[in-house]
Symmetry: C2
Subunit: 316 residues, 2 copies
């Protein structure tokens, strides 16, 4: 569920564009006006605003924003303004170029999006970068990470609820065997995680717990510093309980020396219109602090205001 | 270019359905009538016929055909009547279930279809089998074949003409290195074939030829009996010159003790509306015999008539 607050009476697109244009011109930039418009429009409305803005002022709205804004505020406004599939294409491209074994963005996008959304992101990637997502991932990653990430980003999983329980049992056993032998990069282990439907994987992991007494992610913690194990645990979390994965991503971004604005911005910009309500609940349950209070404590200025607008804090 | 002949004045869909229904009822089946209708309607028209037939007679046309027809004639009429993406889903599913190392159908469909067509086939696969294509391929194949086939069927290649020549040079060199070391299952070799756009692969293989003097497929013939090498050569052929691949598939199906109806039917049913004109020209050039004469010599009855209708032989 979305945390975005769209007003009951939305001004016309032309009016929104005019106001945005006004916010850019004259002395200084009117950040508050930008937040009050873009922070309260849904994806379809933002798309239309971008289109009409370009027609009216002969400039891409993103370019105008890029010129006017800076730092974390700029990044969240730009990411947010992008169409979801374009945004995913942008984030995955950035992740291939900055790839390190601790970078989980590719896995996160491949596993938390619906099969159809991932496909749309791959289409947007073609359009923007004139290459395929999987080709860039395969080119920039290596070894076990490549072995896992390429099929994850290439997957077009079955999206239905049908589950084969016999298969779930046999694959739970197979996973347990491989993990017991520490064969974490095993072909079949990766095949199961990268190709089975989310419903099927969920059934398999339930069988795993019933049969072997432990959550699979407990058994994948042999070495807490091993980055490949960490990405395997992340994969499983993103596939079966994305809201918990995102809660933790936000928690880690906030609870550290110096906020990790990159992660915070990415999660808020990509989830505000998806599951942010559930993520907020998870956050409060896990940290005994409401997410908006935690964000307000850790961030400042227009960046803070935009984050709070997107996670649905009522305006005073 | 298609070889399908659709008459200038096509009867109404209702009329086509009525005629087909008539062909099924009464004494015996009127195969000639079935060929004269279905053998001369394009994909959109056949789809509409199937829809109206089901509405009018309360039975799927494919079921009715299945009851009335037999053997090779049945198979070509059924395959042909299917929507192209449904047909590809059906053929790939069959290939996963009957998979052997000499079965090239998965590779053929993954590499000769356009990126968008392959995607539509994967969607049709979800709808029909409640699983994903890549999940079944990964489950039913093993070792090096799995390592190649899963990324091939999962690919959503960039479809444009943009080519990076620097990359083509460096990857041609990389391919040559790996092949010289007989590292045919090398990660990078498979990555290049499974993820790069067809235009990029074509440029890379031209560089390969310029730089190293041989067609890459010559260098992949170290052991002519090695099935993995054969599928690698097939992959390259399907990606850069599908019409030559199909010409050879038909040639091998015809020029043997007992025709390989399975291959002949598949190529004609899947290519009649795509590249069959070019494949026919290739065939004549390579065998000094027109394809229709070769088919007429090797097949009989209604099966022969349907094949000839689809490859565009003028009716007397």
């Amino acid at each position: 569920m979305s945390t975005l607050c769209v007003p009951a009476h939305v001004p016309s697109v032309a009016e929104d564009c005019e106001q945005l244009h006004k916010a850019f011109t004259g002395w200084g930039t009117n950040e508050g006006l930008i937040i009050s418009i873009l922070g309260h429009r849904n994806a379809a409305q933002r798309k239309l605003i971008r289109q009409v803005y370009a027609e009216t002022y002969g400039e891409d709205l993103l370019k105008a924003l890029d010129k006017e804004l800076t730092n974390d505020f700029e990044r969240i406004v730009l990411l947010w303004t992008l169409d979801p599939s374009e945004r995913d294409a942008y984030l995955t491209n950035e992740a291939t170029k900055r790839w390190t074994s601790s970078n989980k963005v590719l896995m996160e996008i491949a596993c938390t999006r619906s099969p159809k959304e991932l496909l749309l992101a791959r289409e947007a990637y073609h359009a923007r970068f004139k290459r395929s997502l999987e080709e860039d991932v395969a080119y920039h990653t290596h070894g076990d990470f490549r072995k896992l990430l390429v099929p994850l980003v290439s997957s077009y999983r079955y999206g239905g609820d049908d589950v084969n329980l016999t298969l779930a049992k046999s694959e739970a056993k197979l996973l347990h065997e491989k993990i017991s032998k520490k064969a974490y990069n095993d072909d079949d282990l990766i095949r199961i995680l990268a190709t089975r439907s989310k419903a099927q994987i969920n059934a398999t992991l339930n069988q795993y717990k019933n049969e072997f007494g432990n959550d699979i992610n407990k058994n994948l913690k042999a070495d807490p510093k091993d980055e490949f194990l960490a990405i395997l645990r992340g994969t499983i979390k993103c596939l079966v309980c994305p809201e918990k994965y995102f809660e933790k991503a936000i928690r880690l971004a906030i609870n550290r020396q110096g906020t990790d604005e990159g992660a915070l911005t990415r999660v808020v910009a990509t989830q505000a219109e998806v599951d942010m309500k559930i993520i907020k609940d998870e956050y409060q349950k896990r940290n005994s602090v409401p997410l908006d209070r935690a964000i307000a404590k850790d961030t400042t200025g227009d960046y803070e205001k935009m984050l709070l607008a997107l996670i649905g804090q009522e305006e005073a």
